[in-house]
């Protein structure tokens, strides 16, 4: 017997083994299922999440996962079940194809799930004993955070777009390095 069977054990082992069902499940895993305004309807819940009616099935709460959060945040959005397994229900190919109000709902959920403040202004970066103390204005308001002094603190996503990671694991985005003031760029010199 080969090692593939290990993967097999990760499948739903509560059911009696049925080759047909398994084949179907693997087909389902491969299939690209798209949620469109024709077959799916999202609605807000009392608890601040969204519910989904997809064909016959109704989901009390669904998870909204971005597949390309950094480059294409409004395309190929994966809608998943809200439990720990988070099985994919389907994908929204382009958010703009959904009705306006539902677009808004999904965007709210994205904002709830993804936290990455955009740095608008760098007031101060102070270095002390191996740590850098940042004082910045972000899209979430002014904020102080701390980073290590190593090279992987600031990662460039493109020529001008930067990500800063602090000691707790929060990530901050600098959308355009060249749009910063001279003084601000100078403060960033240590990391770029």
């Amino acid at each position: 017997m080969m090692s593939e069977e290990m993967d097999l054990l990760d499948l739903d082992i509560n059911e009696e083994f049925d080759e047909e069902a398994l084949k179907k499940e693997s087909e389902e895993l491969l299939e690209m299922r798209f949620l469109t305004k024709e077959n799916a309807t999202f609605a807000r819940t009392e608890g601040g999440f969204v519910s989904l009616k997809f064909g016959e099935k109704e989901y009390k709460r669904v998870g909204v996962y971005l597949t390309f959060p950094l480059t294409n945040p409004e395309e190929y959005i994966s809608i998943r079940e809200a439990d720990e397994k988070a099985k994919e229900i389907g994908m929204v190919e382009d958010l703009k194809q959904l009705p306006k109000d539902q677009q808004e709902m999904i965007r709210e959920q994205i904002r709830l799930r993804y936290f990455m403040p955009v740095i608008k202004k760098i007031m101060e970066i102070k270095e002390e004993y191996g740590y850098a103390y940042w004082y910045v204005e972000t899209s979430f308001g002014v904020c102080r955070f701390t980073t290590h002094m190593s090279g992987d603190v600031v990662v460039s996503l493109s020529d001008s777009r930067l990500l800063v990671k602090d000691i707790d694991g929060n990530r901050y985005e600098i959308p355009d390095f060249y749009a910063l003031g001279i003084q601000e760029k100078k403060k960033l010199d240590l990391f770029i």
Partner: protein
């Protein structure tokens, strides 16, 4: 980590605790969370979207005064002194902290399975919030089971804070802040560290005093000689002889003393760092896995090697000079001032100019060299990346692209480096020149004074010499605070490990027992993080000599159970009883010496195969080693290696395959002749034929020994007396192979699945040995 923040009076008032209600957890929630809900057109609290600065319904803002509080009755969210959300815990089904991307949300599930998002936290607060929420969940469970919250488990967190509460600085992986609380503490530790070396320290200090005295004394002699012998014109050859003699003696004496002192400092530093290193290493060995697993291996290695190295460097480079230099500088300044306050002031002025220049350029210098350092880091990372991924690069044929990328980086680095060096080559001489200028001005004025007769020649020379003493070490002195702080931080990080109490240690009444192998799990619960349970309420009993197979999907807690049996961790709740003794009352060493373990990841130490097999029993004879290797089906391949049992394995040694490593690990476990055998995927890396052979050996081995075995390949477990199926953190099924098959539950599903897999692939079956297929048939037919 702090889980109960104190609230202000008005906040407590808003909380309105009822009789018998008390605040148990209170943690900050630092992100605004409010989203538009069903039936709401605007954000809650009547705030228009535009007003709150949000787009859509989510307010995007940091919050400073929002707290998530749990009492023994309610879960409350406070904003300022207003309650923005509350629920009775008895109405809750579940409270969770769900990890999102870069943040976490706290959700409450009510009895109707409806989720409500009540608070949101950034990564800074997420660990704290997770613990607090786990605490609240324990209360919910206790309310459900007992009707009151008094039996709820009190959750505490042993994790360290990331920031100092007092000064807001980042903590360098320590429990106390080296800047605020640590200083006195560190001073004491430093003293205790030096305790064993008092004599040497005193001697070094004394030599430093003598050296300073000699240095200070020489210019005095010089002055006396110039004023009384040279400039008066009455000096004789004898005077000259005496002067040269004295100067020479001073010089030689000072040099000899200096050499001795430096040697003594180096020796002291090495001895200190060595004793620290030893202590650290021993401590890390003693500390429980829970401490070690919470830290990255690299970090602990750094503490052993780099931090102790820093201590050594401090003694070598700083300690020996610190006091004598300071003393020399102060005395020089005083003498200079008494000779001529004006000249002192003038030369100091240039020092100030130089320092201002240094300060102005400091940021630039620091930046360009830091950038160079980062570039070199990137370069070496890239090399490592490409070399370890060489096979991929070659198979995809992208050598040229990678070479081009690398040479671009290398050129870049070279450019930066040469630019930096050029800058330094220009900048440094300018500084030296400026410092020298002070001397020239002093000579000008001093010379004038001498010509006017206001000052003697000797005084001028003495002044010049002292100014050299004063300015020489100035550059070095500016680094002193940083070097001292580095030492303190390193010392702090070292003592952080040394002061840690091992969680798993022998109690006072711990005893040595000869293990018979009777095991009893009594309501055992455990989680690596106390907010995430891995095993819950495990109960079972094992008779001596029984073989127990542990079955279940990956990540269900099988290996965790084995960790508990080996007592690498203690259960959070409940107890494990071995031969009528609580496992915590058995001497750890005694327990481990009677357990043989073959783990999933087979780790071989750097050394020969012989060393590795003998690891648990260094006194084993060669015959015993070969016997064990034969039993593990390892003898044949060992013979084929060039150096046989003396073949060096480990990081830079002979390359063994996964299966070969596993067989050595099995031999290692067998050699010890253990009373208790633990096989965690012991044969997973072997081909079917070797597995069968080893299985035979293991079958002989497990006779009369209590054995716990984990295997995904169920045929491996066919000798097991009983099988325990673990699912969703607890025992789902337990019984013999046949009993479980009859039950048609999870185990039945697993067995049929594996059989179907084998059947469904005729090519696999054909590839297997005939014995193996027969076994499988046997296995299922049971």
């Amino acid at each position: 980590m702090k889980l109960l923040f104190s609230l202000t009076g008005s906040q407590l008032e808003a909380l309105a605790l009822s009789a018998g209600e008390r605040l148990i957890y209170c943690v900050p929630a630092d992100l605004a969370y409010e989203v538009r809900r069903a039936g709401e057109m605007q954000t809650r609290g009547g705030l228009a979207a535009a007003e709150s600065g949000s787009e859509g319904g989510v307010r995007e803002r940091y919050e400073k005064d929002v707290f998530l509080a749990a009492t023994n009755k309610r879960l409350v969210v406070l904003k300022g002194d207003q309650v923005t959300y509350q629920t009775e815990l008895k109405d809750c089904e579940k409270i969770k902290c769900e990890h999102q991307v870069g943040c976490g949300i706290i959700t409450v599930t009510d009895r109707n399975e409806n989720d409500t998002c009540v608070a949101r936290v950034s990564m800074r607060q997420i660990v704290r919030a997770s613990y607090a929420v786990r605490g609240a969940q324990a209360i919910v469970r206790s309310l459900k089971e007992n009707g009151d919250a008094d039996h709820a488990e009190q959750i505490t967190s042993s994790e360290y804070e990331t920031y100092c509460e007092k000064c807001g600085r980042a903590l360098p992986g320590t429990s106390t802040c080296p800047y605020c609380e640590g200083k006195m503490d560190i001073a004491k530790k430093f003293m205790s560290l030096c305790g064993g070396f008092v004599g040497k320290l005193l001697l070094i200090s004394l030599s430093m005093l003598v050296i300073s005295g000699m240095n200070m004394g020489l210019p005095m002699v010089q002055r006396w000689f110039i004023d009384n012998a040279l400039s008066t014109g009455k000096g004789t050859w004898t005077d000259l002889g005496i002067f040269v003699g004295i100067s020479f003696a001073f010089l030689i004496g000072a040099i000899l003393l200096e050499v001795w002192k430096n040697l003594a400092c180096i020796k002291l530093g090495s001895e200190l760092s060595m004793s620290l290193r030893e202590k650290l290493y021993r401590k890390i060995q003693v500390l429980s896995l829970s401490f070690i697993n919470k830290r990255k291996p690299g970090e602990l290695m750094n503490r052993v090697s780099r931090d102790t190295g820093r201590i050594r460097e401090f003694f070598e480079e700083v300690f020996g000079y610190m006091f004598s230099t300071l003393l020399t500088m102060i005395v020089s300044l005083v003498v200079m001032l008494t000779i001529s306050p004006v000249m002192t002031g003038l030369s100091l002025m240039f020092v100030i100019v130089v320092f201002t220049l240094m300060r102005i350029f400091w940021h630039h210098i620091h930046t360009i060299f830091h950038r160079q350092w980062m570039k070199s880091d990137e370069l070496s990372n890239n090399i490592q990346d490409i070399i370890s991924g060489m096979r991929i690069v070659k198979t995809f044929g992208t050598e040229d692209r990678e070479a081009e990328r690398f040479s671009k980086q290398a050129r870049d680095y070279a450019k930066t480096q040469s630019r930096n060096e050029t800058f330094w080559a220009v900048f440094f001489p300018i500084l030296t020149f400026l410092l020298g200028c002070g001397t020239y001005v002093a000579v000008l004025i001093g010379g004038n004074n001498v010509l006017d007769g206001k000052m003697t020649m000797g005084q001028l020379v003495q002044f010049m010499t002292y100014s050299g003493y004063l300015f020489g070490p100035l550059g070095w002195m500016t680094h002193l605070p940083r070097m001292v702080m580095q030492m303190v931080t390193s010392l702090n990080r070292i003592y952080d490990v040394l002061d840690e109490e091992p969680k798993i240690k022998d109690r006072d009444g711990s005893k040595e027992i000869a293990i018979r192998g009777h095991f009893k799990f009594d309501k055992v619960s455990f989680g690596y993080n106390s907010y995430e349970p891995v095993l819950e309420d495990i109960n079972f009993e094992v008779q001596p000599g029984e073989m127990i197979g542990l079955v279940g999907a990956s990540g269900t807690g099988k290996s965790t159970m084995i960790n508990l049996i080996m007592r690498l961790y203690d259960p959070d709740q409940g107890q494990i009883i071995l031969d009528d003794v609580d496992l915590r009352d058995v001497k750890v060493e005694c327990l481990h010496s009677q357990i043989g373990v073959v783990l999933q990841e087979t780790f071989l130490f750097s050394g020969t195969i012989l060393d590795n097999i003998r690891f648990a029993k260094p006194t084993a004879t060669l015959a015993e080693v070969i016997q064990a290797a034969k039993a593990a089906n390892a003898h044949d391949f060992i013979c084929k290696t060039p150096d046989g049992y003396n073949t060096y394995v480990g990081e830079h040694g002979y390359n063994l395959s996964g299966g070969e490593r596993q067989r050595i690990a099995i031999a290692r476990a067998i050699l010890n002749n253990p009373k208790l055998l633990i096989l965690d995927e012991a044969t997973s890396a072997l081909d079917t034929e070797s597995e069968f052979l080893i299985q035979q050996a293991l079958n002989r081995l497990i006779q009369g020994r209590t054995t716990f075995a984990i295997a995904h390949r169920l045929s491996t477990l066919r000798e097991a007396n009983r099988l325990i199926v673990i699912d969703k953190h607890s025992i789902a099924e337990m019984g013999s192979h046949n009993e479980l098959l009859e039950k048609k539950g999870i185990y039945y599903g697993l067995v049929t699945a594996q059989l179907k897999m084998a059947e469904g692939r005729p090519e696999n079956v054909a590839a297997n040995t005939s014995e193996q297929t027969a076994e499988d048939g046997e296995n299922v037919a049971g």
